[in-house]
Amino acid sequence: MPSQRDIRRRINASRNIRQITRAMQFVAASKLRRAQEATLAARPYSELLDDILADLAAVLAGDEHLHPLLNRRPDGKRLIVLFTSDRGLAGPLNSNAVRFAAREIVEHKGDLEMVTVGRKGRDAMRRARVPIIAHFPAFGDRPRFDDVLPLARLIADEYESGTHNQVDLIFTRFVSTLVQRVDLVQLLPLTPVADTHGIPGSQFIFEPQPEEVLNELLPRYVGTRLYQTTLEVAASFFSSQMVAMKNATENADELIDDLTLSYNKARQANITRELIEIASGAQAR
């Protein structure tokens, strides 16, 4: 039976931990709100960009050779971009993403390379001896559009150079505060959405030529997709962290209750023992 002092020490330790996890929970909650707002704010741009790309695709009639990012090539390596976070304490978020990536690699054998965003993913992939051609630190609490441009340039260059024929993103999609799902999305070759609503693309005047507009648009399109992905990952990270910290706080509560009970029991046992000692001492006299 642990002594009273040991139990009290453990209660204090649990209290301290509870204080930290509760603080982290509230910090994550407020950062989550900001991340969600950023995700929503970024949506119109990518939707409108989709729209313009669809108009362009209608004019250019699906000619794949207009731009290297549209080319489909039969051979080449596959490039996977894995998004994780730099820091942990976010529940199963990173291990889920890593496990998903591992399964994807095992199920689709073939030549592939990886770009990792976030330290957790890099560490896991390094252990698994997956070739990593580049690593970026996670883009932080509030990613800015400029932050993802180096990544976008790297991916576009890799694809255009012809060594890779497919680029996939593996990241954690933010479904709701409680649900985040790991997902795989193909980034390249680009597939424009169908030109469905509004004015058909063929009626637009292009200035300068459609080809030149396309040249400007496609790299930006890649950047926008990556930016949205990083925003989703940030939102997923904070919601996962919030839930994990909430659970930790509740566990600490429970632990403190249990320990308090044992503490009181130990104290009571002590008192009883002392009473017996006094009583038997008095009797012996």
């Binding site: 119109p44 741009y45 108009d55 559009f145 004015i199 637009f204 292009f206 200035e207 400007e216």
Partner: protein, 157 residues
């Protein structure tokens, strides 16, 4: 018929509303857009976007991107868009000096050089927009129009 204008950047929606006229810095030159404009998709350069709502005018500093024009709707997709009143003049001034220092210092990586040039250009446009600020239409019209022609001598008789 008013023209519905949206100015969006990757990070946010900078403006949305009905306007009477918008002038955008197209890559091929300034582009004035009124309602019922023919459908058009154009690249944007760096410069000043002006919009007119009744008697009010508003200016934005715009950098690169696209504009999609439909008869009743204009969508501006810009890399960045700053409203005149939002621009922090001291910050822009500092950015301009910093970029100039890098450019004049020599010995820079080509990538840094490009970034510094872009930063300089951005700072200059921002300062230009901030200096002018929002103006009333009368003032603006006065500056743009030729002086009214004096009535000539009565003809004939």
């Amino acid at each position: 018929m008013p023209l519905h204008l949206e100015i969006v950047t990757p990070e946010r929606r900078a403006f949305e509303g009905d306007v009477d006229e918008v002038i955008v810095p197209g890559s091929e030159g300034e582009l004035g857009i009124l309602p019922h404009h023919a459908p058009l998709i154009s690249l944007l350069g760096h410069g000043v976007l002006r919009l007119r709502r009744g008697a009010d005018e508003e200016e934005f500093a715009i950098f690169g991107g696209f504009v999609q024009v439909r008869p009743d709707r204009v969508v501006v997709l810009a890399e960045t868009a700053d409203m005149a009143s939002e621009i922090d003049v001291t910050r822009a001034e500092r950015a301009r000096r910093e970029a100039q220092r890098v450019l004049e210092g020599g010995m820079v990586e080509p990538a840094d050089l490009g970034a510094a040039r872009a930063a300089l250009e951005r700072a200059i446009v921002r300062l230009k927009v901030a200096e002018r600020g929002p103006r009333s239409r009368a003032e603006h019209e006065g500056a743009r129009r030729r002086p009214p022609v004096a009535p000539g001598p009565p003809s004939g008789e």
